[in-house]
C-alpha cells in the first residue's frame, strides 16, 4: 500500500509540473491557432538558463523567475519574428506545424554545442522531507505544488475576471469579429505569447528541478507529456489541460511505481492514442481535433 501512497505523492508533484506546461501549450493553440512544437525545446532552454544561474551561485527560485522571463521573451520574439509572419502570409495549419518543428530542431541544435549531450542537475538541495499522512514529499516539491496551484488560479482569474482575459477569449472564439469589435487582437496575441511563454519557462525549470537530472534530449519528453495532457483535456481548453494534467500525472506515476519508470512517456502516449481513437475532441470538447476545422 505504501508504494501507492508514495506514487500518489509523486503524482501530485507530477501533475503540477504537467499542468504548468500543458496550460501554456494549450493556450497558444486555443488563442493563436498555433501548435507550437518548439514548446518542449523552449522549456529545456529555460531550464538551462536557470542551470547556468544556479552554477553562478544564484538561488534556484530566482533562476526560476529568470527562466520564466526568458521563456516569455523568447516565445514573444519567436511569434513576432517567425510564426506571425508565416501566419499572415497564409501558411496552412499544417505548414505552421512544419515551421514550428523546424524551429524546434534549430533551437535544440543551437543549444547543443553549449550544453553538450551530458546530463546535468541543479545544485539546489532537495530540502527536508515533509510527511502528510502517508504522503512523503520534499519541501521543494511542496513549493512546486503550491506554485502550480497559485499559477492555475492566476490563469483562471485572468481569463474570467480581467478585460485582457475577456479579450483573449474573444480572440480565441473569432479573431476577425474580435478585431471588428475594437479589440486590439495583435496586442492580445502578444500578451498571450508573453504569458504562455512565461508558463513554459517556469514549467521547464520546474520539470528539470523535479527530475534527478536533465539533458538536451529531455525536451521531446516534456513536449509529449504536455501534448498528451492538452489533447486529453481538449486542445485549446486551459481547464481541460488542467484536468488532463491531473489524470496524466497520476496515471504515469502509478505506472512508474507498479511497472517501470522508463515507460512514463509511453504511458502518456498510450493515453494520447486512446483519446485520439475514442474521443479526439478531448474531454472538454468545444473545438478539438475533429476534422473540418480551420
Amino acid at each position: 500500500m505504501a508504494i501507492y501512497e508514495a506514487a500518489f505523492g509523486f503524482g501530485l508533484v507530477s501533475m503540477s509540473v504537467i499542468a504548468l506546461a500543458a496550460v501554456g501549450f494549450t493556450m497558444q493553440f486555443g488563442i493563436t491557432n498555433m501548435i507550437n512544437l518548439a514548446y518542449g525545446e523552449v522549456m529545456i532552454t529555460s531550464a538551462y538558463v536557470a542551470y547556468y544561474l544556479d552554477r553562478a551561485g544564484i538561488s534556484i527560485w530566482l533562476g526560476m523567475i529568470a527562466g520564466g522571463l526568458f521563456g516569455a521573451v523568447f516565445s514573444f520574439a519567436l511569434n513576432r519574428i517567425v510564426y506571425a509572419p508565416f501566419q499572415r502570409k497564409g501558411t496552412s495549419n499544417l505548414g505552421m506545424v512544419i515551421v514550428s518543428l523546424a524551429i524546434s530542431l534549430m533551437l535544440a541544435n543551437a543549444l547543443l554545442p553549449i550544453v553538450t549531450y551530458n546530463s546535468v542537475s541543479y545544485s539546489e538541495h532537495t530540502g527536508s522531507i515533509v510527511r502528510l499522512g502517508g504522503l512523503v514529499v520534499t519541501i521543494n516539491q511542496m513549493i512546486i505544488i503550491g506554485l502550480a496551484i497559485v499559477l492555475m488560479i492566476g490563469i483562471h482569474a485572468l481569463l474570467r475576471y480581467t478585460r485582457l482575459g475577456k479579450a483573449m477569449r474573444a480572440t480565441a472564439a473569432n479573431p476577425t469579429l474580435a478585431r471588428n469589435c475594437g479589440i486590439p487582437t495583435q496586442r492580445v496575441i502578444d500578451m498571450v505569447w508573453l504569458i504562455t511563454g512565461g508558463l513554459c519557462g517556469v514549467a521547464g525549470v520546474v520539470a528539470a528541478l523535479n527530475s534527478d537530472s536533465f539533458a538536451i534530449a529531455s525536451g521531446a519528453g516534456f513536449l509529449i507529456t504536455a501534448l498528451a495532457a492538452a489533447v486529453l483535456g481538449g486542445a485549446g481548453q486551459p481547464y481541460g489541460a488542467m484536468i488532463g494534467a491531473v489524470i496524466i500525472g497520476l496515471i504515469t506515476e502509478l505506472s512508474a511505481a507498479t511497472w517501470s519508470a522508463e515507460y512514463k512517456e509511453v504511458v502518456a502516449f498510450g493515453i494520447l492514442v486512446l483519446v485520439m481513437v475514442l474521443r479526439p475532441q478531448g474531454l472538454l470538447a468545444r473545438r478539438g481535433a475533429l476534422a473540418a476545422a480551420g
Binding site: 501548435i35 508565416f86 502570409k89 495549419n93 499544417l94 518543428l101 541544435n109 547543443l112 475533429l290
Partner: protein
C-alpha cells in the same frame, strides 16, 4: 576518390531517393504529413536484419538479443523488410488517419515516432535495445566477397534496380486516375468526399504503399551498413527528408529525387568534408548542419514554397480554350 567512398555515396543516394519518393507520395501527392516516416524505414531495416541473421543463440551472435533469426536467402529479407514497413503502417494509419484533423495527424505521427524509438531503446530482448543489431549478413556474401570491388558494383546495381522499380511504381501512381484522386483529396478533401471519394481509404492505401517503399529503403540501407540501432532513426531524420521534398518540389517525383540529391546527400557530404577540417567544439558542425536544414525549410516555405522544381500544372486540354479560362481567372 576510392571505390568504397563512391559506393557509399551512391548507395546512400539510392536509399535517400527511394525514401524521398515514398514520402513524396504521402506528403507531396496526398497531403499526409507523415512525421513518423523514419519508423517505417526502421521497421524494414529491423525486419530485413532478423530475417537474414542466425538466431541469437548462435555463438557469433550471442552478444545481442533479438527475436527471429531465420537465415533466409537474399531476396526474401528485402521483401520481408518491405512487407514489415507496410504492416507497421496499418495500425498507425488506423489510429491516426481516420478521425483527426490534418495538423493533429502530423503531431500524432511525430509523437508516434518519438515513442516507438523510446520503446525499442528500452525493450532490449526484442531488438537488442539501445545497442541495436550488428553483423547483419549482406546479400549473397557467401558467393561474392563483400570487401571486393565487384561486390560494391553488385550492390550499386542492386540499389539502382530498386530505385528504378520504385520510380516506375511511383510514376504509375502519380499519373494514374488514382493519383488524380489523391491530388484532389490533397487540394480539397471536402470536395473530393462530395464527389464520392473516400478520403480515409485513399489515405490508408497510400500510407501503406509509402510504408512498403520505406521498408524497402531500410532493408537496402541495413544490408549495406550491416548494423542498425535506435540512434540512427531518431525523429529528426524524418525532418531531413521533409526538407528534401520541400526544397526539391512537392508533388512531383523529379523534385523528390532532386531534393534527395541536394539535401541529405549533398549536405552530408559537405559536412563530412568540414568535419575532417576539425573546426570548433565536437558537436558544432553536426549542430550547424541541423540548423541549416531548419533554415532550408523556413527559407523555402517563405520564398519558394513550390520548391526548386514545382509540380507541373495539369490542365485538361479538351475543355474550353485554356487561354480563355486563364483570362477569366485574371478578370
Amino acid at each position: 576518390m576510392n571505390t568504397f567512398y563512391a559506393t557509399n555515396l551512391l548507395v546512400y543516394a539510392g536509399v535517400d531517393i527511394i525514401a524521398c519518393i515514398a514520402l513524396n507520395l504521402q506528403f507531396g501527392v496526398s497531403g499526409i504529413t507523415n512525421f513518423a516516416f523514419i519508423v517505417f524505414q526502421a521497421a524494414g531495416a529491423y525486419a530485413a536484419s532478423v530475417l537474414s541473421m542466425p538466431p541469437d543463440s548462435n555463438p557469433d551472435y550471442s552478444f545481442q538479443l533479438y527475436v527471429g533469426g531465420f537465415q533466409l536467402p537474399f531476396p526474401l529479407p528485402w521483401i520481408g523488410g518491405a512487407l514489415a514497413g507496410g504492416l507497421v503502417a496499418i495500425p498507425v494509419g488506423l489510429v491516426v488517419l481516420r478521425k483527426l484533423r490534418s495538423d493533429y495527424q502530423a503531431i500524432a505521427l511525430l509523437v508516434t515516432s518519438i515513442i516507438a524509438n523510446t520503446v525499442i531503446t528500452n525493450a532490449r530482448p526484442f531488438l537488442n535495445g539501445a545497442a541495436g543489431l550488428a553483423l547483419v549478413p549482406q546479400p549473397l556474401q557467401d558467393q561474392i566477397d563483400p570487401r571486393s570491388d565487384e561486390y560494391y558494383y553488385f550492390y550499386i546495381a542492386l540499389t539502382a534496380v530498386c530505385v528504378g522499380l520504385v520510380w516506375f511504381v511511383a510514376a504509375r501512381i502519380v499519373n494514374s486516375p488514382y493519383g488524380r484522386t489523391l491530388r484532389a483529396m490533397r487540394e480539397h478533401e471536402l470536395a473530393a468526399t462530395a464527389l464520392g471519394k473516400n478520403p480515409v481509404e485513399l489515405k490508408m492505401t497510400i500510407f501503406i504503399v509509402g510504408g512498403v517503399i520505406a521498408g524497402l529503403s531500410g532493408a537496402i540501407l541495413v544490408d549495406f551498413i550491416t548494423a542498425w540501432a535506435p540512434s540512427v532513426w531518431l525523429y529528426p531524420e524524418t525532418i531531413i527528408l521533409f526538407a528534401a521534398i520541400i526544397v526539391g518540389g512537392r508533388g512531383n517525383n523529379v523534385g523528390a529525387i532532386l531534393g534527395a540529391l541536394l539535401v541529405p546527400v549533398g549536405l552530408e557530404e559537405v559536412t563530412r568534408q568540414l568535419i575532417q577540417m576539425d573546426i570548433g567544439p565536437p558537436n558544432l558542425i553536426p549542430a550547424l548542419e541541423w540548423i541549416l536544414i531548419g533554415l532550408f525549410i523556413l527559407g523555402f516555405l517563405w520564398f519558394r514554397p513550390e520548391g526548386v522544381r514545382p509540380e507541373p500544372r495539369r490542365v485538361f486540354r479538351g475543355g474550353p480554350d485554356v487561354g480563355e479560362v486563364e483570362h477569366g481567372r485574371l478578370a
